[in-house]
Symmetry: D2
Subunit: 169 residues, 4 copies
């Protein structure tokens, strides 16, 4: 589902340069996969999953990703931070159906600065059904857009570093 070329873009210097002096650029990313069993309530009269109902699944995978790097959303909220959705985009290739076992792969491709972007691939077995992304801002309880708090960027940075080390080993 995830193209290997997306996960690692390796560049060995230009032609003519010695590999010894080449640069290796690894695209490090944070990722997770949530498993979802399709509920009957998520279907519509076309007999398939209603198109809006993929967004809650993306959220399940997104919050799982944050929890796995030590940032459970309940704690973010308790600390007074919200991550409202600024943009959501879904492309539908093939529909999910009642009782399907669905994988929602969520990827954070780069360390967020102001906006946080997560990409999704929703699949049934090897069949890619839906792709998409969401973008998020940081907001305080008063509804004002703010910079990500220090503990958030530190946890994420640590996770990116760890992912980087795992990749280069």
């Amino acid at each position: 589902m995830v193209d290997a070329a997306d996960l690692k873009s390796v560049a060995f210097g230009r032609a003519g340069s010695s590999p010894a002096f080449g640069t290796i650029k690894l695209t490090i990313m944070l990722q997770t996969t949530a498993q979802i069993r399709v509920r009957f309530s998520e279907t519509d009269a076309m007999g398939v999953v209603y198109h809006a109902n993929y967004l809650p699944w993306c959220e399940v995978a997104r919050t799982q990703l944050l929890a796995e790097v030590g940032l459970p959303y309940v704690e973010l909220q308790a600390s007074g931070f919200l991550l409202p959705v600024l943009e959501a985009n879904l492309k539908y290739r093939s529909p999910a159906r009642y009782d399907d076992l669905i994988s929602v792969h969520a990827v954070m491709k780069e360390m967020p600065r102001v906006r946080i972007r997560i990409d999704y691939e929703i699949s049934r077995g090897n069949e890619l059904l839906v792709t998409g992304y969401t973008q998020h801002a940081f907001m305080n309880r008063e509804g004002q857009a703010i910079k990500p708090p220090a503990f958030f960027t530190e946890k994420l940075q640590a996770a990116f570093t760890k992912a980087s080390e795992a990749q280069t080993r």
Copy 2:
């Protein structure tokens, strides 16, 4: 849809008294009807409205009833009061379908003391589809069950009185 016998229970007289001197007891109630156009998102793979999706319609009618007696739910909330659902019961006779125009008739049959009960009749034209009721408690912001505040009972009492006057005229 609403049986006339339910709306008015007329009792002619005490035991032993002549009907001519009898008393008329009217069951006064508050009621309203909300109109709902069925959305595609509310259907399921059986091709009809998903059974849980009648509850939000009941809520639309219930909050319309409260708003009509001068108690809009947004103001209740702003005043620190919530009306959580204690019980919900729905009986399904016949399904609503996409694009149907649905009437949700909500009735408060008696002045609430601690609990508030609303009855519902959900119809398409003359066809009764679903009947049900919900029961509610008063809760403060801390989640504690409380007695209805004075302004709430006063507004409701005024509405019942007004309904009573309209009925006896």
Copy 3:
């Protein structure tokens, strides 16, 4: 969560017989428990799970129970049978919240004849949050109420017999 007295109703003996020679009547039931992680999409502006959103969870547990006795709902549908909801009742004691891990215990207390009744207990750990039941009819593709087909009653009867044997061993 399930009261032991509900699970076993022991009756010692016929009228006139000595308890020593009595018969033991066990109320055998089919049951299962589904685990649900509360999604953010299931909450409402009161900060808790929206009251209608417990019904899809009941359905998850109900269809899990049917699947466990060899009657997956997708196969029922493929065979042309639907199990529409005739009645749903929920009593709310305490609210579930975002990210809670919820158990939905579904019980079929007796072999269904025409109607199928399932009882539910929804809990967070040891705390019982919501109780309820649903009643269902058998319907064919044309929307007509029918008797349960033979394969359905046979599978259920076999499951009740197996549960009975497990209980008396």
Copy 4:
């Protein structure tokens, strides 16, 4: 909400050119506005409308637009045609809240060939809350992508022609 410059882009040649040689380019479009009252069930624990719940509103406006040009979605379905969503995109500026009266402006900017694109502007009074678009394909009952049927393109063409005439009058 809709910028007038978007609706009509009139170019009368450059300065110095005679009007007789000028070109008039009118952007003709089909459009409608649906009114939505926010339901409590549509909110989430952030106290605002859950981000996925704007998509059903877009659908309400989209099907209203189709109905207004003589193509009610129920008739499309009855004729064996479905309009599944291929892509959905929403950009969130400001949240809608419980009980808000929301306008969903849907626009078909050009006569569809294979894909149908609808743009949306979701507003509360003069405040633009959400913008977005959806893209759709034509599908038959077997789930195969097909060209729009003749009656569909004819009705739409007639509506575009009528909109064009109204604009030039």
